[in-house]
Symmetry: C2
Subunit: 385 residues, 2 copies
Amino acid sequence: MRNFEFYNPTKIVFGANTIAKLADLVPATAKVLILYGGNSAKTTGTLDEVKAALGTRVVMEFAGIEPNPSYETMMQAVELVRREKLDFLLAVGGGSVIDGTKFVAAAVGFDGEPWEIMQKRGRNVKSALPFGTVLTLPATGSEMNSGGVIMRKSTHEKFSFMNRLVFPQFSILDPSKTYTLPKTQIANGIADAFVHTIEQYLTFPVQALPQDRFAEGLLQSLIEIAPQAMSMEPDYDNRANLMWVATLALNGLIGAGVPQDWATHMIGHEITALYGIDHARTLALVLPSVLNVQREQKRAKLLQYAERVWHITDGSEEQRIDAAIVRTREFFESLGIKTRLSEYQLGEESILAILAQLEAHGMTALGEHQDVTLERTRVILQQAL
Amino acid sequence: MRNFEFYNPTKIVFGANTIAKLADLVPATAKVLILYGGNSAKTTGTLDEVKAALGTRVVMEFAGIEPNPSYETMMQAVELVRREKLDFLLAVGGGSVIDGTKFVAAAVGFDGEPWEIMQKRGRNVKSALPFGTVLTLPATGSEMNSGGVIMRKSTHEKFSFMNRLVFPQFSILDPSKTYTLPKTQIANGIADAFVHTIEQYLTFPVQALPQDRFAEGLLQSLIEIAPQAMSMEPDYDNRANLMWVATLALNGLIGAGVPQDWATHMIGHEITALYGIDHARTLALVLPSVLNVQREQKRAKLLQYAERVWHITDGSEEQRIDAAIVRTREFFESLGIKTRLSEYQLGEESILAILAQLEAHGMTALGEHQDVTLERTRVILQQAL
């Protein structure tokens, strides 16, 4: 096991009918900005419930945060907070709203042009407004970590940042708030949590027994959750498991003390930035090819993954690895998620564009061994056609 | 899944050669009391390493905390802290030293007779001194939770308490600091972590998929760790896994959103208080009989435990449950831990004494269904003879 530090002070308030607890969780004298995305927060009644719980506190709203939150949009919120001297942020939504809120929290008091936060990946954040979240879309884990991803529309750049000052103070996770989500978003959430887990698990062995078991447990849970999530009317326990699994997949726990990959995410971010494909769906495009191209480096863990997650024990090593990659691809497809660039009408020319973006952003040595060069990414993308 | 709150702000600093980080973790102006147990902190050099890292800070020492920390001893530390106006506590040791330190942290500013903290199980704690820990004995999980157990020698009472103000600010977990431990203490640590996990897992199903998978992962890890831990010279990765598993077994994570049992612990505490048997060893005396006597209430989870943890799939339900209980007993015995009261020369008369203590402490309705009455505990203990 590698040395590590683990710190996660976010308080999770989990379960049905927990939004009312905002009355105690938000300071009584706070001047609050509620941040959210589209109309669904309104039409589902969640926003009204939030405002009722906040009672007589000063409350303003900022709507219209996009699925991939943009610098341009979030800077409008920064200006509103500064102008109105608000002192507490409350994100109501999914990972995009929460990521955007983290950026606002860090940017409000930032000394300089806030885009520098993204350019330095958050290392230059010295203070942040306190904030909480009300999660309505299980997927990214942003509700219990200190990272975020922001896109700059004008330059097609999409960067992640991280700083311990942007852990949410609390996150309310009410599974019944996910009932109105379209199935495509549930599918995205399952795929996102699955790949988050894989990026921290499917590398090389470092004798980290509980981390491996926990990661395998999350993958097995997602495989168990998926059919019911995709076929049935919303079921409370099914949604509760999805919500908690997605949070656990990226709260720092399974990644503590082990190597991490993240090549799939870095390549996927460029696909979203260039072609607007949902984040989770870009991961399903890239991951199967990453596993195939990196099969030598990942051999031991691929075999462990095949056996413990998919119960594949017959055949040669190559056959078991092939079978595990096929099962991974089929899992995404079972969620109605495409796993081929060609299904999005993207061909060789898109590969050149993605590679150019990766090069421009210094993403030329990805993965747990930093051996996923541009040349290797080209092979990965060609296998994903 | 049940509604839950999860909050754990303790920072974990894990790995070899991490004690030096105390220089940054403890406030520069702190007046520190180092609390420890016997001579081993001195003879192993750990205490010197700790003091070197603390540099020029004001540092005092309090030695002699017993394996089951007593109110009488810890009150001496309380008086020392008050007299010398110390403002930061640093526990160097295992669960007993950390539990004792938590009591001191809560007692120093307590308004009233500090034993009232134990009588109210910590609910009446309004403030606590900040403290950190340097863990040298993996077992209890106290390094990453907000609970503790204190014994009052004069009355043979042993109570647990809990309050969110007594989370350690940080805990340093250096697996190499466990190399000098006797094998009996390693065995106790494995057994303690195993039973902590079982108490939060082996109850009844509530559709909590990741909690079940995580608990099973910890049990499987302990089963994998045990033979090497007991037979070989200390191995870094083996000890690292034991240390992190023991922490994860009782940091609130696997118990969030699920029913919990704790009957085995409550009965075990009385055995320790009466006969001085190591905490972990009392658990091994009680657990197999609890599982047998409660097999109807625990049937579904016993079958899941048999299959997922012990890979028992053949035979009738009763046979599989019997086999899982036998494997549990054999696991303790493989650690050199006795599982029968008679092996400690305890007979029927001890059962009467234990029952009398349980009755005196109101422990008359234990377990996840609160159906472990004194009469049922009598049967449990009779089966443990």
